[in-house]
């Protein structure tokens, strides 16, 4: 077996790890019913993107990726705040935080 892959850690490893995390988060968004868990899955996806940014930043030797991470973090925090406020609203109304309650919003 080629042990190069195991011992020599490079950009690919981080990218694949990030891709897997992203896909896990996406699966969470698609299959979970709890709004808060959905939000957490989205956070997971955002985090995996952060990981790719930082990895690229290191391997390309430029700092712009770090800046993007800041921006993503800010937006993630904002999204969490609004998402949780919505979840609180839903909870107050239905005493449960299930995504199906959002179906009332359809036109």
């Amino acid at each position: 077996m080629n042990t190069e892959f195991i011992t020599n850690i490079g950009l690919t490893h981080y990218l694949v790890l990030a891709a897997l995390l992203f896909v896990i988060g996406m699966a969470g968004v698609l299959v979970r019913r709890n709004v808060i868990v959905l939000l957490m899955s989205i956070e997971l996806m955002l985090n995996s993107v952060n990981l790719t940014f930082v990895a690229f930043s290191k391997y390309l030797g430029i700092l712009d990726g770090h800046i993007m991470v800041f921006f993503v973090m800010t937006i993630a925090a904002a999204e969490a705040a609004v998402g949780l406020a919505l979840a609180v609203s839903i909870f107050k109304r239905f005493n449960e935080v299930n995504i199906r309650f959002f179906e009332h919003l359809k036109g």
Binding site: M26, V29, L30, I99, F102, E103, H104, L105, K106, G107
Partner: protein
């Protein structure tokens, strides 16, 4: 000081005044607001003087101060700078505008001091001065048009200044809408000129005019100038668009003096004089201008005879005098037109302010039938008014004499003129002498018909000082343009005016020097006829006040026709406005409601039907939406990879 700074001060000082007064129009007392506004215009006046002094010190050829502040717009080849130019023509205008403007601002402090919205009034007045300066200083038709529209706006705002009175508000709207028609023509004229010449800059247009006229279709030039002239008839109250000016007297009297006598209404004349090389290339247009001008001069004068509102008389007089200017322009006497513009600005502003003083002293009474014998109550107003009267009826050696006479001489002698035009001018002058004497007689002389509960009083110094200054100007302003024929008897007095304007004025093709005998004869005719008519009027209205009534009775149909202003307003309503309204109503009902609306309803129903079909996809289940996104990403990504 450098020119661009001076120019900026000149233009922006009134604007700053407008901003100050406009921003705090509820807080300023009348005197404060008036002082701010007056000082703003006075600053403008001082910079205008400085600029003109600089201009005079330049060599005669290439006298021109041009300042370009920034590039306003650049669309492909169409480039317009926010450029301003002071040359021989605009120098006169800025002096008149800011000088007379300052006096009228000063007068307004006294006239408006009891009004509630006085700060707002002064803000509008300053804005007007600003726009008027833009109009006269702009170095291209487009910059001029900005000012053109701006003065129209201010005129509208000021006519309808007492907008709680429905009639006055309606007068403002009438002025605005009538001007709109002219402005539309002005715009069309600009389009035609731009298509023909590829520029809207005055100096470029004037330089190109002779060359293009030779090489291309002359019709374009005629069309363009004709459109511009229609624009001018709107702004300068000529037939057929003069109807708004008499109604515009609804505004405060100083406004009438500033806007509707001295400055804005002369914008049309100014515009044509500025483009004189262009107009001189279009003889057909010139003919139309001359005829319209002469017709307006006579037509308005006849109406003036029958009016009883002191301001209406002056308004029709203004229309008539503007007709003179257009007559002058039409026969190629651009210098004379400018000359008359200036002298008229002085004496007509004087008379309007004088009438304002009378109205003020009479406690808002405007009907001259209820005046008479005011001479002893208002000595200063009377004396100054007399000066204006003498000037306007063309008393020799008063300013109006020189300018009017030059116009008549040109009308007779110019190859573009004709004896008929001259005759019309003389009739106009005669009528002018008649109705102005009538006005004097009914207002100041004769027996007092003032109702006993009104106590006329002389106005305060702040109102009389501008009157005195304007009176002096009305008397002596003509002396800078003494014609040779008189000048040579006055110690060879040169004609400064002609020298000054000479480089800016295109020569009239086929012009031959007028011979002195003819000139004396013409002068004698007009002066003699005017004198006779003035004496007749004096006889009628002072000595035997019953005679005019008898005459009116004996020619009742004619009198009614004239007294009702030839039913022009009614004709406009019956002939143009009402048919238009009916047309619009029918179009609205048959085309809009029954056709277009139904079409859109069908379209809407169609879209809604399709939408309700597609809507079934929208389940509201967000995870399904997310799934669609996911599938989309998968498809897109596999496309990218498998490619």
């Amino acid at each position: 000081m450098n020119h661009s700074l001076l120019m900026a001060i000149l233009i922006l000082a009134p604007f700053v005044g407008f901003l100050i007064n406009g921003a705090r129009y509820k807080k300023h007392s009348g005197n404060v607001a008036g002082s701010i506004a007056t000082v703003a215009v006075a600053i403008s006046f001082i910079s205008a003087i400085l600029l003109v002094v600089d201009l005079i010190s330049m060599p005669a050829e290439g006298r021109r101060i041009a300042v370009s502040f920034f590039e306003w717009m650049a669309i492909d080849k169409f480039k317009v700078n926010a450029g301003f130019v002071v040359d021989q023509i605009s120098a006169i205008m800025i002096l008149v505008i800011t000088g007379v403007g300052t006096l009228i601002h000063l007068f307004s402090i006294g006239y408006m001091h009891h009004d509630k919205g006085v700060a707002k009034y002064f803000a509008y007045l300053n804005l007007f001065i600003f726009n008027m300066l833009l109009l006269v200083l702009g170095d291209s038709l487009l910059v001029m048009f900005v000012g053109w529209e701006g003065v129209g706006l201010c005129s509208y705002l000021l006519i309808g200044f007492w907008f709680t009175d429905k009639e006055k508000a309606a007068a403002g709207m009438k002025a605005f809408i009538t001007n709109r028609i002219g402005d539309a023509a002005f715009l069309l004229g600009m389009f035609v000129l731009f298509i023909t010449f590829g520029t809207l800059n005055f100096s470029e247009l004037n330089a190109l005019a002779p060359t293009v006229a030779e090489s291309t279709w002359l019709g374009a030039l005629t069309l363009g100038t004709l459109f511009l002239f229609i624009g001018a008839t709107g702004k300068s109250a000529q037939i057929p668009l003069y109807v708004w000016l008499p109604d515009a007297m609804a505004g405060p009297t100083p406004v009438s003096a500033l806007i509707h006598a001295a400055t804005m209404v002369t914008a049309g004349v100014y515009m044509i004089v500025r483009l004189n090389p262009l107009f001189i290339m279009a003889p057909n247009t010139m003919m139309v201008i001359a005829i319209i001008g002469a017709a307006t001069a006579v037509f308005a004068a006849t109406i003036g005879i029958t009016q009883n509102d002191i301001k209406k008389v002056l308004a029709y007089s203004t229309v008539s005098q503007l007709g003179y200017m257009f007559l002058a322009v039409g026969v190629g006497a651009f210098g004379a037109a400018m000359f008359h513009l200036m002298t008229h600005a002085f004496f007509k502003a004087l008379m309007f302010l004088g009438s304002g003083s009378v109205i003020h002293g009479m406690h808002e009474e405007q009907d001259i039938r209820k005046m008479g014998g005011l001479k002893k109550y208002m000595p200063i107003t009377h004396i100054t008014f007399v000066m204006g009267w003498l000037a306007i009826i063309g008393t020799p050696l008063f300013s109006g004499f020189f300018s009017k006479d030059e116009i008549l001489a040109y009308a007779f002698h110019s190859p573009m003129g004709s004896p008929i035009l001259w005759a019309a001018g003389v009739v106009g002058a005669t009528l002018t002498a008649f109705y102005m004497t009538r006005l004097m007689a009914l207002t100041f002389w004769g027996k007092s018909r003032v109702s006993p509960d009104v106590h006329p009083h002389e106005s305060s110094a702040i109102m009389t000082i501008p009157l005195i200054i304007l009176a002096i100007l009305s008397v002596f302003a003509g002396w800078i343009g003494v014609p040779h024929v008189i000048g040579e008897h006055l110690g060879h007095m040169p004609n400064f005016w002609e020298h000054w304007l000479h480089p800016m004025i295109s020569p009239i093709p086929g012009w031959t020097a007028i011979d002195h005998t003819t000139e004396w004869v013409l002068m004698g005719c007009s002066v003699g006829l005017a004198t006779v008519s003035a004496i007749v009027a004096y006889q009628f209205y002072v000595k035997s006040p019953e005679t005019p009534k008898k005459i009116a009775e004996s020619i009742k149909p004619v009198y009614n026709l004239v007294n009702n202003k030839y039913f022009v307003d009614e004709a406009y309503f019956g002939g143009i406005i009402n048919p238009l309204i009916n047309l619009s109503k029918n179009t609205w009902y048959y085309i809009d409601v029954n056709f277009i609306d139904k079409m859109t309803f069908w379209a809407g129903d169609l879209v809604r039907g399709m939408g309700s079909f597609v809507r079934s996809v929208q389940t509201g289940n967000m995870q399904q939406y997310a799934m669609y996104i996911g599938i989309g990403v998968v498809v897109a990504l596999s496309f990218v990879i498998m490619r």
